[in-house]
Amino acid sequence: MPPDTVSTPGGALARQFWAENPIFRQVLGICSALAVTNLMFNTLLMCGGLIWATSMSAVTVSLMRRLIPQRVRMITEVLIIAVYVIMVDIAMRVFFPEIHRVIAAYVGLIVTNCIVMGRLEAYASKNTPFNAFCDGLGSGLGYSLILMAVATVREVLGFGTIMGYPLPARELWWHQWTLMVMPPGAFFVLAGGVWIARWFAMRREAAAAQSPPAPQAAPPQQGGAE
């Protein structure tokens, strides 16, 4: 695990968004979200909720980091996250009642999402509020990037639509791939994504190792959470 020592807000954001992308590099936090990725719009709402919950709870925990006693730290953090998740839940029930009925349980599950909890523990509880905010925002955006990519593949192949709009002339050439609508499709698409991302990362590392006079930044350690 690379150190969480980047202290500039922009650095923290970029690190979480790409270099340490929570899904591809660390394979964390896919629990509550794969289930909603067969339609892009549902995924978008879910990602919005997660970004709000990670960034705002990071700010709150960071502001309170000297007040929270060490022994009850986890449960306090969980309750802080729960407050923001309930805000998302209520907002969604008001503005998107039909979608809320489908994904309500998964929105609630943002509370136990490993990404949120992990960032609070590893970063927000030790850094200043603005840095923590950027770190949370970066994780949320990095997670959303991957989920939206998975959702795009699944919706196009499974329903032949993009954000609910049919593909051009889809009767002529498109044929439904039912597997993509069903749960296994999510596993296969995500595994493919992880494969491609790791392959690029490994190729870059190999290139860096072959040209010795490359003093910039030590090659990132291979493999996140095993």
Binding site: A35, M74, A105, G108, L109, A191
Partner: protein, 211 residues
Amino acid sequence: MILMLADTLAKEAAGQNLLAIFFAAAITDNILLTRFLGMCSFLSISSQMRASIGLGLAVIFVTACTGAINAALYWFVLIPLERYGVPASSLQLILFIVVIAAFVQLLEMVIERVSLGLYFALGVFLPLITVNCAILGANLFLINKNLTVFEGFVYSAGAGAGWAVAIILMAGIRIRLKTARIPAALEGPGITLIICGIMALAFIGLSGLIK
């Protein structure tokens, strides 16, 4: 209150087939393979067989018990309070989390007192369980499905059993994988996800068993 309890019991006697609820939760509606819950600890723990069995058993026990407790609290405390303007659907989330965390903490203390052997076998997994989304997920789904307390207990026991079956199967498959030749970039999480997909297909194939 007593009337309500009697009512529930009567409903249960006449109610749905409990066996069907259990098998649907464990097999065709497997919480890990069709709802993707509890993936984090699944991906990291399934590389060790012994740990998978221990964690699986702990998850069955905690899910079943918290499912029953939470269903009871929801139907007999939160819903009656709703008349006085308490937002039940918003509070259930906080209530469930606190109940799960408290239950796990209590269980840890009890096991430590009663049996040190069991404590060393299961104790290390208990903290992992508090953040396992399969448990919170099962609790939320049983409310969504409008199950009574006893049905909720059966449903969450089934969900826990399904999770345990999936992680133990995966641990067995991963033992064989150690000798297989896998593309370097696909090792670890990548190949595990693909196997999950194939297992999910197999479990969906069983759905004809339950009507």
